[in-house]
């Protein structure tokens, strides 16, 4: 199932509604990387609230998405990892895969985090 990518101001939102196949993850990453450029987005939010399982491929896919969008100029935040999922991922040793990605509790916090980061970047830019 393809994941719809929505644009909200200078951010992109991808809300994963069901378990994705490996191919779906790859497609999502490509779609996001492409649209970041097209819309000149500054941030990407991947919402995984609906996911009850996160396997090693999904974890790696998220990490890849974050790296790809960063290269294209947008910060990615993963939001909505459920307590049970977080717990299982740590137990499975998947946490190191996600060590470089940014997480937030939910969509709301994800927006706040991106706002803060882009503002810091802007200020940093002025200062330099």
């Amino acid at each position: 199932m393809a994941v719809p990518i929505l644009r909200q101001g200078s951010y992109l939102i991808a809300s994963v509604q069901s378990e994705l196949t490996d191919a779906d993850w790859v497609q999502l990453g490509d779609g996001l990387a492409e649209q970041v450029g097209r819309h000149r987005s500054r941030g990407v939010i991947v919402d995984v609230t609906a996911l009850e399982v996160m396997d090693s491929f999904a974890a790696r896919a998220l990490s890849t998405i974050a790296s790809m969008t960063r290269l294209r100029g947008a910060e990615t935040v993963i939001v909505g990892i459920q307590p049970e999922v977080a717990f299982a991922m740590v137990q499975l040793g998947l946490a190191p895969t996600l060590v470089h990605i940014v997480t937030a509790l939910d969509l709301d916090d994800g927006f706040a985090l991106l706002d803060r980061r882009t503002r810091e970047d802007a200020e940093g830019g002025r200062g330099g």
Partner: protein, 322 residues
Amino acid sequence: MIERAERAIEPSLTQEMEITGEEIERRKAFLEFGDEDVERLMSMNELAQQYADSVIEAFYRHLLSFEEGRAFFPDPALLERVKRKQKAYFVRLTQGNYGPQYVEDRLRIGLLHERINLPTKLYLGMYNFYLRTVASYLLEAYPQDSKKAFGLFLSLLKLVFLDINLAIDTYIHKRERTLRLQQEAIREISTPVLQLRQGLLILPIIGVVDSLRALQLTEQLLRTIRSNRARVVVMDITGVPVVDSKVANHFIQTVEAARLMGATVILTGLSPAIARSLVSLGVDLSRIRTVGDLQGGIEEADHLLGYRVVKGEELDARARPA
């Protein structure tokens, strides 16, 4: 007292204690309790009926001659009721059909005795008294054939041991369950997750952390992070006496799981001894934010959350025009 308790008991103790039909057969096989034993016991039924009253009377005389025994029978009506039940059991021993229902009944009776806190010494003493009394009656009944009397007695001995075993198992089962419940209660109490400010949780850990507790602690923290929408957690381990590499790994897992949910964990209260042992064990805590004490941890958390704690007077002084 006894009848009231009886009604409150759940129906299948055999299930709860995992004493299946197979298990019953295994127990019987271990005691070498076979069909010929059942036959022998049933052949004694008439004799048992005949002597039941005198055995029961003798037993309660014996029991009541002890202070500890008397304490269980504050009123005569109760004593009569219990005597009737004992007599029924005594006769039941020689009525055959020692299947699951028989076992269930034994467990139920065992649990009753556990509930009224009957000491096992009295419980076992009762069986001993029965066996001795029955032995002498058997010898009386077969004066010419002591071999037969002894054979009958041995069959009874097997059944009685089966019963004793079941009764003691209920005692153990009940105590173990109590112990388990208490352990759960202690764990629940010992890991409170407290909200200090909007978005800031405090997790003071006190006592020994084993794998099970670490799991529970992590689960509880993750749930609270979600429900309180926390962004920073200060985990204080001042009260943890020993941190070896296993415990340290638990902490690392907790920190990582919290991070996946968007919360930053600050670990505080590592004593010099723990710091030394972690370093010499080669545990890598570089991915975890650590601050010396709880106060420092909260200050760091405030900083992360954008809070600033300022004394009222200083604020006033600043507000006053110079």
